[in-house]
């Protein structure tokens, strides 16, 4: 699946509708629950809060410290109440990468819905055992002397990468920085862009 092909297997479609119908009947699923989910995630699927927090951290050293030391408090500045996040900082010496090998755990509140590749066996299997090779394939060459530190999200803690601010962005303000920060950079499979694409 993926590849923009809709999955409309009649067996699955009828199975979903059957369960939906039963959960409505039993008062488990609210009649408007599906519409609310679609509205929420259609509107907020990008790494909105995550990118905003990173842009703020790049321009405000105190906020940077707060984001690393007390992510719950830092995210509170964006009206997000989320205490399960750890923010891991890329440096000259360390590149961080986030994966969930056992299922597909992902920091939804800060990054939105996970992309399909994050949930597929290729990424889940290889990210812990050959991260340098997989990043190279995905277009990110990590220097040999830089440690790759992989975070396998095996519990309910969630991880977000604080990428390094790209050279050449010194003149940009927080709002201009946000669009440079892709979801992939916050997972650790890309670097932020230096200029708006």
């Amino acid at each position: 699946m993926g590849k923009n092909h809709p999955n409309v297997d009649p067996y699955i479609v009828s199975r979903v509708r059957a369960l939906e119908s039963l959960l409505l009947e039993k008062g488990i699923l609210a009649p408007d629950a599906v519409d609310r989910v679609i509205q929420r995630y259609e509107a907020d699927t990008g790494p909105m809060v995550g990118a905003r927090a990173v842009a703020k951290a790049w321009t405000d050293p105190d906020y940077r410290r707060l984001l690393l030391d007390d992510p719950k408090a830092a995210l509170g500045r964006f009206d997000l109440d989320y205490e399960m996040l750890m923010v891991v900082e890329n440096t000259e010496a360390v590149h961080n990468l986030v994966v969930c090998t056992l299922c597909s755990c992902y920091p939804w509140p800060v990054l939105g819905l996970p992309p399909t590749w994050y949930k597929m066996p290729a990424y889940r299997s290889r990210a812990v055992s050959e991260p340098r090779a997989i990043l190279q394939e995905m277009g990110l060459a990590v220097p040999a002397e830089r440690e790759i530190r992989v975070w396998d999200s095996s519990a309910e803690m969630r991880y977000m990468v604080l990428p390094r601010r790209p050279a050449g962005t010194e003149g940009l303000g927080e709002a201009e920085l946000v669009p440079l920060i892709s979801r992939d950079a916050l997972i650790g499979v890309a670097e932020p862009r230096a200029t708006a694409s």
Binding site: L19, L113, T116, V150, A155, E156
Partner: protein
Amino acid sequence: MDGVHDLGGMQGFGPVEREQNEPTFHAAWEAVVLAMQHAGRLGLLYNIDEFRHGIERMAPAHYLRATYYEKWLEGMIRVLLEKGAVGAEELTARQAFFEQKPDAPATAALPGPPRPRGSSRRTSLTDFIRETGATPRFGPGDAVLTREMHPRGHTRLPRYARGKRGVIHLCHGIHVFPDTNAHGQGEQAQPLYSVRFDARELWGESAERNQAVHIDLWESYLLPGR
């Protein structure tokens, strides 16, 4: 359980394929599954660990070819059936109805108007920390050895990290324990640690240079290292 869901280090799945301009949902039913999952968890029909273990018990070949939301659907149905929240016969009958009427809305099969939703007893989906007052056995820098265990039930100690030596990075606090919570044996909250493993410990001579993996592991997965 040592099932095919435990993918860390497995080979043969090919390259990572990124989808350009990926839509939020690939089909309308995927959003329905997401909404049902939220409803099921908020309504305390099952917890996250029971749900995950439901997915893990899919037939292995099915697990590997199913999409994400199809796995969710199958995990959810398995747990709802096991708990008796939904009956196998009513599900089969309802599915037959919609196979006959593929364009009918979900409300078409209801005997009456939808029941008003029961008041949810849970308000957060991310409530896993328990202030039990337990004292963590290990501190940052302590050497640990993971247990060599292959339980038949749910566990979050990945197979690739069994019987391996690591170092405590930090303690995340006291967290609900999935290995019991997935099996109706209670939350049994205990300290959860970020444990650092050198890649050479995990992958031996096949390890990439200059690599480490941090895994979040509960205290009872860990023995004191040397």
